[in-house]
């Protein structure tokens, strides 16, 4: 089953309940700890795993994708602005530690909130473009954003798409 909760580490805070996009993390009313009510519907998005302040949630990947004996665990540190993964292969020989930034600027200050942005005008509502098109896909300003157009370079070792 995809995500499962270590009941001994969970304190029933509900961060995972709030963040689950499928609304399948709930609080068990008897022991008052979180649990996945519908593992079949879990997308393994890892939102709950990352949101849990006690690292009480782990994922047992679907069997056709993740072999028995593996381990993929993540720690998201908001204050440091990084996310760390640890992937342990089932042969017991490979134990990868990965670290990546998740923000380069403090939270809550630099990305405008939706409520601060003006509501769409009737013209916008009637037009065929979606919210913030064409601006966010930059068709009005050159073309789509690419690494090259922004002067960035793919770092060696990062297998890219």
């Amino acid at each position: 089953m995809p995500t499962f909760v270590y009941m001994t580490r969970c304190d029933g805070c509900g961060q995972c309940v709030d963040i689950c996009p499928s609304d399948i993390m709930h609080i068990d009313p008897v022991v008052r700890r979180a649990y996945n009510i519908e593992p079949n519907m879990c997308w393994e998005c890892y939102s709950c795993v990352k949101a849990c302040p006690h690292n009480a949630i782990d994922v047992r990947g679907y069997a056709d994708f993740a072999p028995l004996g593996h381990s993929v665990r993540v720690r998201r540190d908001e204050e440091k602005g990084v996310i760390a993964w640890r992937i342990i292969f089932r042969n017991g020989e490979k134990d990868m530690n990965l670290l990546a930034p998740i923000t380069t600027k403090p939270w809550g200050k630099h990305i405008p909130q939706l409520r601060d942005v003006p509501a769409p005008s009737n013209e916008q509502r009637d037009s065929q473009l979606l919210f913030n098109e064409p601006k966010y896909i930059r068709l009005d300003d050159g073309d789509l954003h690419t690494l090259k157009s922004n002067g960035l370079k793919m770092i060696a070792g990062v297998e890219g798409y």
Binding site: T8, R9, D11, G12, C13, G14, Q15, V17, D18, I19, I27, P29, V30, V31, R32, A51, P53, H54, N55, S71, R73, V74, R75, D77, E78, E79, K80, G81, V82, A84, W85, R86, I88, D95, N97, L98, L99, A100, P101, T103, T104, K105, P106, W107, G108, K109, I155
Partner: protein
């Protein structure tokens, strides 16, 4: 009034034989021990705990010496136990400290006062009795604050404070015990040991206490033994490098981090600032 031993008045005036009270205390202790052992056996907590310990040891990167383990045990005692440092939420932590210390003082002073009986007329008061009352008051402060404001069901789930479940057994009986201990002590001093009100309060106090200590198998009582053990195991897991298969987040401005993860200084600079809280800025209220 809060420096007088209420059990002394009870044994003198009701009269209630001190032997009966002492036997009751011993029975409660036995119920705690028995209930916890039963809980452990029934839920197989010990079996899983040691299995987890073994599985962590298998992926350990270094050996933890017994001297180190002793140090970790002491640190668990001083941080997780005495200072309740496992609580991330400061309100929960403070409320737990009030309740925990109140309970410890209350129970210990109860035993001291009861086993000190019989006392001479006019004696049987002082510091121990004061601590008994203060302990009960502390339980009430921490407990009622938790009950009305902090409880996850109320704060995050939107339930009413009077919406009870089996999981509330521990807190409710603890609060009833502490509240009626104080009510009984007050009524006894105000209306006398043999007054009906005083006796009713005493009966509720004893009923709550008995329920608290006898329902360990079905309540959260045993957490006070399990949590320190789990905290110690987590500390050992960090010390031996297994970290329960969780990744390590090094200090971002350290040379080791920059060497190992070159995109951190590239995107975040040499000394990344504290980014503040993101999703954790809001308390979870999922109702």
């Amino acid at each position: 009034m809060i420096t007088s031993n209420p059990f002394a008045a009870l044994s003198a005036n009701l009269p209630l034989d001190p032997g009966v009270m002492q036997a009751y205390v011993v029975l409660m202790v036995l119920l705690v021990i028995g209930g916890t052992l039963l809980d452990v056996v029934h839920k197989k907590s010990a079996k899983y705990f040691f299995e987890k310990g073994q599985s962590l040891k298998k992926i350990a990167k270094r050996d933890v010496s017994s001297g180190e383990k002793l140090g970790l045990a002491v640190s668990t005692l001083t941080n997780e136990v005495l200072a309740s440092s496992e609580f991330a939420n400061p309100e929960r932590r403070v409320s737990h400290l009030f309740t925990m210390y109140g309970f410890v003082f209350f129970v210990v002073t109860t035993a001291i006062m009861i086993f000190g009986l019989p006392v001479a007329e006019g004696e049987g008061g002082g510091l121990v009795a004061l601590l008994w009352h203060l302990g009960a008051i502390s339980i009430c402060i921490g407990g009622y604050w938790f009950w009305f404001k902090i409880r996850a069901d109320v704060r995050s789930e939107g339930h009413e404070w009077h919406d009870l479940h089996q999981s509330d057994l521990f807190v409710v009986t603890l609060l009833l015990m502490a509240t009626f201990a104080l009510v009984w002590s007050f009524l006894q001093a105000a209306t006398g040991t043999t007054s009906l009100l005083s006796i009713i309060a005493f009966i509720v106090f004893i009923a709550a206490a008995t329920t608290l200590f006898s329902t360990i198998l079905w309540s959260k009582f045993a957490h006070m033994f399990f949590k320190p053990a789990a905290a110690f195991q987590k500390k050992v897991a960090v010390a031996d490098g297994s970290r329960d298969k969780l990744p390590e987040i090094p200090e971002l401005s350290s040379a080791e981090c920059k060497e190992r993860y070159p995109d951190i200084p590239e995107y975040m600079g040499d000394n990344p600032p504290n980014m503040g809280l993101g999703i954790k800025r809001e308390a979870p209220t999922h109702y």
